[in-house]
């Protein structure tokens, strides 16, 4: 995506990314407000803290040929891939006009037209699906890739480990992106994981990188290198250190002693060091906050999906429904 930004300076591109990060953060903040007000049917798992990783990854991908799958914590990733924010918000809030008209919800966001195939309610289950995306991309032979984004908790699922081996044995163009936010639900990664994530991936024959989303340029370069490498036709792995600024789900404030995400502040600091004026940073942030608030407000003002949203699905399997 950055390569397509000819005519714009590096700073302009980065400032736009910064604005997109603020869009995700503000979107999640507005969803949290709706959740607190009881306007969300169930629990939501907010992606606050991984915005920089979401945006920098999303910008490396091509909706016309790449297939991305994400975890239960993928609001930001779906937005970063280009899913319509109002439709995403409506789906999270269970409203008419949501991505799936409110039938799927926060953990099952599907926007295949953007390349964001699906998020998932089962930890790690999205990873084999991305291998299928990689297989299709390989067959289509247009340089597309499959990308599975999952957390450090999923890294201990057999589905993930099996798929690393499968992708390596079939030499699939598949990128495994592990967001390490240090917590698997309420269990600290250090208590749940033996050995090193990158070493695991390397032991399967994958090329592996690690990056910290607090370090903008390093994270950007790593993700760009990993996507470029995968596009050439081999599987790869990236561990990206991110934060999780809420509990496992919003309202679950366990482990609130964790420091809040620094990635956005670090990004702002880097932009300042590049000579971007504070006023521009503030303008970008304000615009993002306004846009995100408007998207979520538009969703919240839409009616909840009616019971008849289910109607198209009744009787499709032989009229054995009750």
């Amino acid at each position: 995506m950055l390569g397509s930004c000819r005519g714009r300076t590096m700073n302009e591109v980065a400032l736009k990314q910064y604005q997109s990060c603020w869009f995700i953060r503000s979107f999640e903040k507005a969803i949290a407000v709706q959740a607190r007000a009881g306007n969300v049917p169930g629990l939501v798992h907010l992606s606050t803290g991984s915005e920089v990783a979401d945006i920098l990854l999303g910008q490396q991908l091509d909706p016309t040929r790449d297939h991305v799958t994400g975890s239960h914590r993928s609001h930001g990733l779906a937005l970063a891939c280009g899913a319509d924010p109002v439709a995403v918000a409506k789906e999270i809030l269970g409203r008419e006009g949501g991505l799936s008209d409110g039938l799927a919800g926060t953990q099952h966001l599907l926007a295949p037209e953007t390349g964001f195939l699906t998020s998932n309610g089962i930890v790690g289950a999205q990873v084999p699906l991305a291998a299928g995306g990689a297989l299709s991309a390989n067959t289509a032979a247009v340089g597309g890739i499959g990308v599975a984004v999952f957390g450090d908790g999923a890294a201990n699922q057999g589905a993930v480990l099996e798929t690393m081996n499968l992708a390596a044995t079939l030499n699939l163009p598949m990128l495994f992106v592990m967001y390490n936010n240090g917590m698997a639900q309420t269990t600290a990664a250090v208590d749940a994981t033996s050995g090193s994530y990158c070493a695991r991936a390397e032991s399967f024959g994958l090329t592996a990188w690690s990056a910290d989303s607090d370090a903008y340029t390093d994270c950007l370069k790593t993700l760009r290198d990993a996507v470029t490498y995968t596009r050439l036709g081999s599987p790869a792995f990236v561990e990206v250190t991110v934060s999780r600024d809420h509990g496992h789900y919003f309202g679950d404030e366990e482990r609130s002693e964790f420091p809040p995400s620094k990635a956005m502040a670090c990004f702002a600091k880097w932009l300042s060091e590049q000579g971007v004026k504070d006023q521009l940073l503030n303008t970008a942030r304000c615009a993002a906050e306004k846009d995100a608030a408007a998207a979520v407000a538009a969703a919240a003002s839409a009616p909840f999906a009616a019971a008849n949203a289910l109607s198209p699905w009744l009787g499709v399997q032989g009229g054995t429904d009750g």
Binding site: H67, T118, P128, A131, G133, S136, N165, L166, G318, G319
Partner: protein, 327 residues
């Protein structure tokens, strides 16, 4: 049209050859399916014809390769995944139950999922408790899955072609005991619609519903019943879900009696589903309580005598049908 006699194995193999030649988005995924032709030799010769890119041998990693099939189906391919034994669904059930079965619903119809999972069922060959189960009821209980259990070569080929062309996930269950069963097939292996039962024997006194290998046992029983003056009608549902309830109800309205013979689970299984549907829709036609013949509620035993005792056989069917018609 010209007919020839094929085994079910040959019919499935021919159907795959034809389907793959007609549509290059069809690929096969599974363990030992390419060079080896599959442990049951159903995919023999396909790798030589269509190459390693379309005949994909995998590690023994059912979760990864079934999931890869689901993802490939979401993104433009038509995968035919071989799961060697349906018992192995235990190691990849999430990908079947949560991923394959729910994707179309969760997309509210925006995604197609043209996925076929070919697997085996059927006790009777000493394979023991973890290579002999018949889990069609389990799959059929999951919303979103279509479940097919063919009993003869023409149905096997025609239903496999229909399953491959269908937009949703299909569990296609091949009975291990029937691979060598021979029968006539029409040239070109015409497609057979999913969800349509077939009356394999007409009769007037009792309706016997029996899929897969149990259909053959029912046919054997019908001969004996006939000599005893009992005219039995046998319906092979062919597709477990969606079930052709109408065909079964029509038959029961004629015969007034229903016996379901099934190799699936004795509790909350296919036989119970058939009985419930018929009881709800044709209660007034029933002249006696509908009955089922299923294996005991235990895993499949290993020793030959125990396995023989475990499976319903034609003598059991004769006894049950006789008791029902004499009642």
């Amino acid at each position: 049209m010209a007919e020839q006699v094929l085994t079910i194995r040959q019919a499935l193999n021919s159907a795959l050859h034809q389907a793959m030649a007609d549509d290059d988005t069809i690929i096969c995924i599974g363990e030992d399916i390419a060079e080896n032709g599959g442990v049951f030799k159903v995919t023999e010769g396909l790798s030589g014809k269509f190459g390693a890119e379309r005949m994909i041998d995998t590690p023994i990693s059912e979760t990864a390769f079934v999931g890869m099939g689901v993802g490939a189906a979401m993104t433009g391919l038509k995968p035919v995944v071989e799961l060697m034994f349906c018992d192995f669904a235990g190691v990849c059930f999430d990908q079947i139950m949560n991923q394959a079965a729910k994707a179309q619903f969760l997309s509210n119809g925006r995604l197609k999922l043209p996925l076929v999972i070919r697997t085996t069922m059927g006790a009777g060959d000493g394979s023991g408790a973890m290579h002999s189960a018949s889990l069609h009821s389990l799959f059929a209980s999951i919303a979103g899955l279509t479940v097919v259990c063919p009993s003869n070569p023409a149905d096997a080929a025609g239903l496999l072609k229909a399953a491959i062309r269908y937009d949703g996930p299909v569990i296609f269950m091949e009975n291990k005991q029937l691979y060598d069963f021979e029968g006539p097939v029409v040239a070109g292996l015409p497609e057979i619609s999913l969800g349509k039962a077939r009356t394999i024997r007409e009769g007037t006194d009792i309706t016997i519903v029996a899929a897969s290998a149990m259909g053959h046992r029912a046919l054997a029983a019908v001969e004996t019943l006939g000599t005893n003056g009992i005219s039995a009608e046998v319906i092979d549902p062919r597709t477990i879900k969606p079930l052709d309830v109408g065909a079964i109800v029509d038959s029961v309205e004629k015969t007034g009696r229903l016996l379901v013979v099934d190799e699936g689970t004795a509790f909350a299984g296919f036989a119970d589903a058939v009985i419930a549907a018929v009881s709800a829709q044709a209660f007034g036609s029933l002249r006696c309580a509908p009955m089922k013949l299923c294996p005991p509620d235990t895993p499949v035993p290993y020793a030959p005598a125990a396995e023989l005792r475990w499976l319903p056989d034609s003598a059991d069917i004769v006894e049950a049908a006789t008791n029902m018609t004499e009642a």
